[in-house]
Amino acid sequence: MSITSVPPRTSVPALGVSIRGVARSFTAADGSIRRVLRDIDLEIGAGEIVALIGPSGCGKSTLLRQVSGLDRPSIGTIAIDDTRVTGVDLRCAVAFQEPRLLPWRSIERNVALGLPPGTDRAAGAARVGELLELVGLSGSRSLRPRQVSGGMAQRASLARALSRGPGVLVLDEPFGALDALTRLRMQDLLLDVHAAEPATILLVTHDVDEALYLADRVVLLGQDPDGPDGSSILRILPVPGVRPRARGDATLAQLRGELLEGLGVDSRHQTAAPHRTSKATATSTARDSR
């Protein structure tokens, strides 16, 4: 899918993110402490796209919450553009794992919630309109969230995050509820938006091929079998080649294998041939463990 125009952005340029020595523990009801994340170090350059991948429950969403300032690390610091994140950080825009649309607002008004504060009325309406067009929801703009499908709600949530025109875009499984075709479209849409108005993108996905198609680097998060409790970065894999990459590029086959292995997918389940089957396997395996 090619798009003719990306709506003009109104705010900040892409900003680098540095995650230094971050750990996060939760105290359970019985008083015991459970460490979810430990020793996370990651420098993300301005405008870079980083995909976060890892088994369900390993702390991906938790890490995103640290970056957007919705939650604070137990140890370590997060900085955006060298300024420490201390609370909800408005240089970030978040698309949550659930769509989280306000049920009493139309889709259009939900997307408008993302506009940077103080946006001119007409300019805001225009930008919302264009974003709705981009995510294929212009026909549903006046519907309420309960009247749209899960995938449509998720696209609205993505449009809401994009409407902010953020320096850092934090996306938690943004395409999780989409069918294969819409998912591919939305991936291209995200890349188009990124090319037109670069933002640093940190996204979580369970789809290895999606990570390899979109990201500059893929970060594998998980519990080190020999290490102490808590997920850490098991591997960082730079993805070669410039975007847009050919889907199922042969040179990526080895990376795909490595990632699937890192996710604990048995090599018998991997097929050497085209990405379609292996993608289905990877996706369903990662989801089955939920």
Binding site: G57, F96, W104, G150, G176, A177, R290
Partner: protein, 309 residues
């Protein structure tokens, strides 16, 4: 002499309704179920999308429903008439519908009835407005702030536990037998249902949505106006509905105990004069007015539910 015995009867009634409005379990129904974070988004239930649909085969169409609702009153009226004319019950215990109607015409003739109705309606409306406004404000503060909840929650709860009619002697002592004391009693009655529902509902607004608001930088005020209040609006309206019922209840109590005008006074006056036809008249009027004002809020509730969810 009977004046003292009658309020006791209505007090029992008030206790019952008071509990209803003040059910300790917090808001009815709106509380979001504990969310499973693991569920794939696509499985989100969309069940209630056609709850309001008209196509449901088991519900009669609107007009039909109105007529069906009219059926039982007509049957009651007919039964009443039959029993009254059969002589099974003496006339001083059960008037005929016609005599009640005539009593109504008689009272309406010189504008007396209109005066009673007007003053009662005025008391209910003012007391309801004052009480629910305070209920809204206090409920919002206690519902939004953990500190306020810890600080004031138990105290307000203790006041709620006082059967509201227990305030009557004190009100009369402090304010005297006048409009203020009556309106205040009604306001007390209306306060608690609104307070309870608002505080409970605000406490249980979907945490995901509140977090969304925070993530997009809404200020506290905007969070309240754009997320929390809209989320609790339907619950608030049902709280208002309960409060209105309470207001009518306390109106009659106040007027029975200390009043020289109004429908409640007409009740006690008719009892003292043995005017059973007027007693029936007032009860029917109370039913009609209570139902009409309730229906008005019901319309508002329906509209909001349709718009809001």
């Amino acid at each position: 002499m009977t004046v003292t015995s009658r309020p006791r009867g209505s007090e029992a009634g008030s206790l019952e309704t008071g509990r209803l409005g003040a059910s300790p379990g917090g808001p009815p129904s709106r509380r979001p179920a504990v969310r499973s974070r693991r569920l794939p988004v696509a499985k989100r239930p969309r069940a209630d999308s056609n709850r309001s649909g008209h196509g449901d085969a088991s519900t009669p169409p609107r007009r039909g429903r109105f007529l069906v609702g009219l059926f039982l009153p007509l049957v009651l009226l007919a039964t009443w008439q039959l029993i009254a004319v059969s002589g099974l019950v003496p006339a001083y215990r059960l008037p005929t519908p016609a005599s009640v109607w005539l009593a109504g015409l008689d009272l309406a003739g010189d504008g007396v009835l209109a005066g009673h109705i007007a003053i009662s309606t005025q008391r209910v409306l003012i007391g309801f407005a004052v009480g629910s406004l305070f209920g809204l404000v206090v409920g919002a503060i206690v519902g939004l702030s953990r500190w306020a909840s810890a600080f004031a929650g138990p105290t307000v709860g203790a006041f709620r536990a006082v059967p509201s009619l227990a305030w009557v002697p004190l009100l009369i002592l402090y304010l005297g037998i006048n409009e203020d004391s009556k309106v205040l009693l009604i306001a007390i009655g209306a306060f608690f249902p609104v307070y309870t529902t608002v505080a409970g509902a605000l406490r249980h607004v979907d945490g995901h949505l509140v977090e969304l608001g925070r993530a997009y930088g809404l200020s506290r005020t905007n969070l309240l106006l754009q997320v929390q209040l809209p989320a609790v609006l339907p619950t608030v309206v049902s709280g208002l509905r309960l409060a209105l019922a309470q207001a009518w209840l306390f109106l009659v109590a106040a007027e029975l105990i200390f009043s020289s005008m109004g429908l409640g006074f007409l009740l006690s006056d008719s009892q003292n004069n043995g005017r059973i036809d007027r007693l029936f008249l007032v009860i029917i009027l109370l039913a009609v007015f209570g139902k009409v004002t309730d229906a008005l809020i019901g319309v508002l509730e329906k509209y909001l539910l349709k718009r809001w969810s």
